[in-house]
């Protein structure tokens, strides 16, 4: 299958590219290094420096004889987007090309505007390039569980059946998110759903929870093939931050009461989910929404697990609550459906003690790279 990956340099994009190439797909990745640029501008560089995208593709080719075609360009520019789609004529597109940091999107006008313009602009351009050149192409869009927010009822898988005054309707599950970044993903959903209904696009929306880990079959071949591993307050998700804090010997910083509960998944499972979606394309005019995570934890749960395993490994791990820089509920109901990907065949890699142990060991190799100044929150939701 010909698979185009937008945002192919990212934490998920690059492992996905290697994984699909290893499976024999023809893979073309596009990236404009937006994430690397923002990392540098905000002093939020990843723990382990990696070669640029062309360099990584060369190393991967040398090691596996598999090709990942690379284009450096901006999908928010329609000329670029259209040229890529018209030249490659993909069977499927995996769309990761979004500014993915919630704190960055909340840090000021310019950052908010960049996030809105980039994320919605790329989605809009992708829709049109597909409509104009490959209308049967399957779009696999990375959404986020954060679109749902933390409602007081169960989160269903994309849709909500409502009975109201004796009549029934099925709606897109109502969404209200906690950051501008997450809100741009809601706008993406609205836009995609409109074009699915009106023009018969084929779309799978993978509503993903926070991802952790830096190990995949392909990334483990060579340290230069590892994904960006961010542990800072801008790009580092909570599990990765805690792992680094445990290794650095500073307390794991829990925002507020720590009751914030979300669904998490292992990076390896992101790859499985994308493949499962690719292998079961949807019909024309269908928007399939799948909640992509494998287990729910509160922030306190995560801190305690990582502390326990770290202490078993001889680290002295402490947990400290700090003032929450975000506006969010710190204690809330959370029960989210996620059977769709299991039904398609997902075999989860749960966050066992062994998994935590091996992630801590990987981080320990780079202990001298850690800059603890990067970890504490610099952006407040105010």
């Amino acid at each position: 299958m010909k698979v185009l990956i937008l945002g192919g340099d990212g934490y998920l994009g690059w492992p996905t590219a290697m994984n699909l190439a290893a499976k024999g797909h023809e893979v073309y990745v596009v990236d404009n290094y937006l994430r690397r640029n923002i990392s540098r501008m905000t002093s939020s560089e990843a723990l382990v420096p990696v070669p640029n995208l062309n360099g990584r593709a060369e190393i991967f080719k040398a090691l596996t004889d598999r090709e990942v075609l690379v284009k450096i360009g901006d999908c928010a520019d329609y000329r670029t987007m259209e040229q890529v789609v018209r030249d490659f004529l993909p069977d499927a597109v995996v769309h990761y090309a979004e500014q993915p940091s919630a704190p960055y999107s909340m840090s000021g006008f310019n950052e908010a505007r960049l996030t809105l313009n980039n994320n919605l602009g790329v989605t809009f351009n992708l829709i049109w390039a597909v409509l104009e050149h490959v209308p049967d192409c399957h779009i696999i869009k990375l959404g986020t569980m954060g679109e749902y927010g933390t409602p007081n009822i169960d989160i269903e898988e994309g849709w909500l059946d409502v009975e109201h005054k004796g009549r029934k309707e099925r709606f897109l599950y109502p969404r209200q998110a906690g950051s501008l970044y997450h809100t741009t993903k809601i706008l993406d959903t609205d836009l995609l759903w409109f074009y699915v209904r009106l023009y018969g696009l084929r779309v799978t929306d993978l509503m993903q929870g926070p991802v952790y880990g830096l190990s995949t079959d392909e990334a483990d071949l060579d340290v230069r093939l590892r994904p960006h591993f961010n542990y800072d307050d801008i790009f580092g998700t909570v599990v990765n931050r805690f792992l680094v804090q445990a290794v650095a010997g500073v307390p794991l910083t829990v925002y507020g009461k720590g009751g914030q509960t979300r669904g998490y998944l292992n990076l390896k499972d992101t790859l499985q989910c994308v493949t499962l979606a690719l292998d079961s394309p949807v019909e024309k005019g269908e928007l399939r929404i799948l909640n992509q995570f494998t287990e729910q934890f509160s922030v306190n749960d995560l801190a305690q697990r990582i502390a326990r395993v770290g202490n078993q490994m001889g680290l002295k791990v402490q947990i400290q609550s700090i003032e929450n820089p975000r506006k969010e509920k710190e204690e809330h109901y959370y029960n989210a459906a996620h059977s769709g990907l299991i039904d398609l065949g997902l075999q989860p890699h749960f966050m066992t003690d062994d998994v935590i142990h091996s992630m801590i060991k990987q981080v320990m190799e780079y202990k001298d790279h850690i800059d603890i100044k990067k970890i504490l929150p610099r952006v407040r939701w105010s």
Copy 2:
């Protein structure tokens, strides 16, 4: 009160500006003539040519001694938006500055992109200019009933109380619209609701149905003060189109089965609603949503009413069904709440035979301006 009107040259913007100035408010209008430009580019000029915005303000001043301050500029440009807000420091903003034509938004890539960028861009800029310079300012945003689409349950006033598996939550009423224009208003809502929740904006969202008429107390002072009256397929809403067809002696063209039901209101009631919203500002952190229409009609109802009155006036009015250029349900359930504005004091001007009679008479004055080639649909939803 200092009231800033974005899109002050439009069908609603200009009558609102005069009306608020006549009531003694300090009124500042901004417009970039986007609607006039699109009208010219699509050969969809209004029935009656009117002076430009500065010219209209001068005529209004000469007749009433009331001032409407005018700035010609683009609110999608942040420098312009910020300068206007910072200089005027409004107590309230009425935000009409959107590309308002559904068919235009559906006519191609460039038109879709312009609609998305303009509408969301102006809303985003307004949010930030208010946050940065007048955080207590009351934003009155024109939404549209079209955001709700035609669900199979009652349409409530902005919010939906859901009981699901024994638990309860109140959500923004789920929205799914029938054109890209209407979808951009959904994106506006998502964005405003996010900034209301996170930063305490004050917002009233007026979910307006199609408006008809060209008479207001101020517009009736001088023909040069009348609002743009469009009867074409791009900007003309269904009532105005039917009035012109009745006068021109061509059949009233019903799209498909004609069972499409919507809530309508008289232009005079739009003015009342805006004043009612202004006079009862909301609290900080509140999004008030009001469904702004006074009565529901199907397209067939409207055609029959206008035909009946026209025939009484000696016109020979026929009704003809044509192929529907839109993708929409032609027969559907529709029952939309609209008590909020009534509770605030709205006294509706219903579409009586007298009202239809006087609108037909107004159109008859300009019978020789009518170009029937402009009326039939040129844009298809495909």
